[in-house]
Symmetry: D2
Subunit: 311 residues, 4 copies
């Protein structure tokens, strides 16, 4: 069956973590296993270099390595999206072109940050990126990270002008998500781990769950049930995944920051499951400690997640 890469991103598209080795370099073997694990589970796309991929903490060499491995391992089985996430237009174009050279199918772009752009300047940002890059652009709303929102008005303008092919909405704001679905034809994927079933039911084109790194099978089941209109099954799966999401709150917040607690837990769980070798995160994130690792293992057991057999 020929894949239709011209179709916008849809379905389950996990934002892959970037596994590191004991020296802090990209652990290519672990990343290959992670990609295979995801493909075996039946995901519809792969997103490398997103927030869960510690994009903000990667330098050029690590970014390039991660994209290379994912594109190479996916080998055309599903589309590969890459984050081109940075503070300003020139920097974003620089990342995007690098990703395109490495063979990705689309790039994912936030509003500018550090600077404080106006609404018209946010639209201009996407105009410039759209014009400068040879693959489709996905708009990424993540106000918790960039402290600027992609409002429904701005998204409507991006959609009307054809500057982006989809939206990834990690705002947590269901009302805004529905307003965008009501006002535009833009495919909108939710970044919510916790109301993916609801998002699907109200019309999401897909799910981009960080927790999908750990349990892609769960999100694939949820997505399939939701698509088939079986809301009860989707909701039951969602409830189990919400319990699994508690791995992101085990870390002692007086010791590590929010991001280390969340991304660190994804990596820790993948290490416990045997998918990646080390739970190492990029500096300056601090590693989880043994107690926290045990707590994560315990949550995995409670939610039915066993170690993964080599495929």
């Amino acid at each position: 069956m020929a894949l239709d890469f011209s179709r916008p991103p849809h379905g389950v598209v996990p934002p892959l973590v970037t596994p590191l080795d004991e020296h802090g370099d990209v652990d290519r073997a672990s990343l290959e296993r992670l990609v295979s694990f995801q493909l075996d589970a039946g995901v519809d796309g792969l997103f490398v270099g997103g927030s869960s991929g510690e994009i903000a903490l990667l330098d050029t060499a690590r970014y390039r390595a991660a994209v290379e491995v994912v594109v190479g391992t996916a080998a055309g089985a599903v589309p590969v999206l890459a984050g081109a996430i940075d503070t300003g237009t020139h920097r974003v174009v620089e990342h995007a072109r690098r990703a395109v050279e490495l063979g990705v199918d689309a790039v994912v772009v936030t509003t500018p940050f550090y600077v404080r752009p106006g609404a018209a300047e946010i639209v201009d940002h996407f105009r410039y990126v759209h014009a400068a890059v040879d693959v489709p652009v996905v708009a990424y709303d993540i106000p918790s990270a960039v402290h600027v929102s992609l409002t429904p008005d701005v998204v409507a303008e991006l959609a009307d002008e054809g500057l982006v092919v989809a939206l990834k909405d990690s705002s947590g704001d269901l009302a805004g998500f529905r307003e965008i679905l009501r006002r535009t034809d833009l495919p909108a994927l939710t970044g919510s781990e916790l109301f993916a079933d609801t998002a699907m039911q109200v019309g999401a084109a897909g799910i981009v769950p960080g927790l999908g790194n750990v349990d892609p099978h769960g999100y694939v089941r949820l997505h399939r049930a939701a698509r088939e209109g079986d809301h009860r099954t989707a909701a039951a799966e969602q409830e189990r995944l919400a319990r699994l999401f508690r791995i992101t709150t085990v870390a002692d917040r007086s010791r590590v920051g929010f991001t280390a607690g969340a991304l660190g837990a994804f990596k820790a769980a993948l290490a416990v499951r045997g998918v990646i070798t080390h739970p190492t995160t990029n500096p300056p994130l601090r590693p989880l400690n043994d107690d926290e690792m045990r707590a994560i293992a315990s949550v995995l057991a409670e939610t039915g997640l066993d170690p993964v057999r080599a495929s």
Copy 2:
């Protein structure tokens, strides 16, 4: 007289704008004129690639060009600091090493952002950068941009451990600034355009005013008066500079964002004064319009700023 570059940054250290030509590339001639204008005014250092330098909007080539021109034009007359401002440790080290290769005397580093670091991780960040970079590091507190604060506790730890040689405080929080001065011996420079005289009086080691691009002579006079204990003269100069700062509020905020209004005004005023050729800013910032340019010219006239003669 031999310059003592081992002395931490002090005095008036303007965070230079990055002039662009009509194509949006670094306008080397304008940047050279800007550096000469600052040196003629008697500044004590130059800061390239800071917030006023649109660091968040520069790609590698433009960053490199700006640093090269400033280092080359300064030619050892005063120390050159360069921003190594980015979301994570690896990225910051990448920028910092690039700047060091180009000959800067120190690098200026914020907390990580986009990610949400804990206090210990912020200290770690400076540990890593300190270890990786061959020049002194200046800590930069700018919560309006990075949405994380360098608290007095964190700064005290940075100082105690010798990880940074100075602080640039753009928090606007005078109480916190004084707490740092009380608790540490760290030289602390204020980023405030509006209470530079006060900051000097309570013990600041210097001033890093974006507005200093436009009127370095004013800040040099303010600094000299403050250092000599002539608070009345310093305050009078400060009042004039506060009136001049109104150039940052002329832009229509329904048309451009906050950053375009502020940085755009610095460049506009420098163009009006004849120091740089074009007021162009990097995408996606929008240019000021003719009415706004005229309003800026009018503020310059009211505060006694004439066009600059070629030096």
Copy 3:
């Protein structure tokens, strides 16, 4: 049929506006008509003195008048809830006792505000109020107004200890709402006008929609469909109500604040529909102007809402 007032609040419970006459006093006749309009539409309870009731802008006399009229007009047909919303415990108890004397069936209480309470102090607040007041207490999460959140942890503690009989969640945070439903047996009503259907589907006990003032029939239909598992009908009704909600964005935000734009629109629409006589709001809210009134009338027409016949 005897009403069971011991049952916690459930179903559609509109937070009534407080109609005023041309002198700014409570317009008792309009409020009576509003209550009748709501009862005719089949609502399951009435909430007087909530955010939509301009509780923050009422003095004692107006508060008392509003509660009296609603209790008197409802005459036991449905339970009446009253807001006891204020900055601290003593003040809340003072309001709550007043409301209880006037015959309300439950009081609705937020976290303390103006002060910055810790989590344990928030629980204590509800302990004190629970002990001091003779009717059930409903916890009210509205961080947009009080700038403190009722976290799932706090709500779980309130539920475990039996301090409150229900939650009104106006946080807009569906993930948190579902976490509360998962972790407690507490009936939880949503304050969202825009995802009431979703909230019902995931297990909400009811809906407290400000927009329900204007179109109670719509929310009653939505609620009935949702309860019967007819999600398609509920969603269609929700979509129409979302279009109706655009009345809250017609006001020019450079002229009036957010609250005047939203509450003012509810009153304006009720005046257009002939339910209340004047769209007047309490000082210092500014009235909508003629253009805005016309825009509201136009939205009402587009969403199928005619003037109401006297019942």
Copy 4:
């Protein structure tokens, strides 16, 4: 010497705590002693029912009792200001009239809160209060509590129209404070405990320091030195007071909220010094524990504050 009560508030005007007895009622004897302690120290006015007075946590009876005692004990020696601090215009007028009946010389009023007012509505709020109340009104900027700012533009309008006789600025924003001083003739008092000397030097009309409850002599010395242009002495006193202010950070923030830690510390220190009998705060604030009380006693000793002899 006859007092000139027509002169706007100026000098040191401590925002008095409201001492409570073991039952949580106003401890009139302690409040009388506190007032005498302040008058003996030479303060220029008294502010009852402010943030430090736990205004947000007082009911009508406790508010009335506190105002009565302060007015009675001051007995015309200095002007008495009372907070009329609430969410909306009608409520504020209700409090203000009560305070005026009890004999206060001025009322202190914030922006509306809970609601989200626009700039014009904030000005209207002060118009209404000014028209409704027979004593002068002081505008109170405290965004940390009300989450709305009194911008320089709004304050300039209040001043131009003669709606307020002074500003109390607790924003922590020195640049904004100076802008107001530059743009208006309005007497502006700072609420900052930590840069009172600076505020005086740049033109403040006075100081309203919560910490002044504990050490009025210190603030009176600071104020006198500042007024006489002896900045060195003022700064030295300020440094000692900044060290004393550490009493507000001894409380364990995982146990009590921010407000309990700060106001609780003022009361604890006054109890240690023997000025008031109990350190009790209003519900739902939690009391400091023995360790925290000891830590406060230790800071008092280090900063030279002995128990107070009965006057």
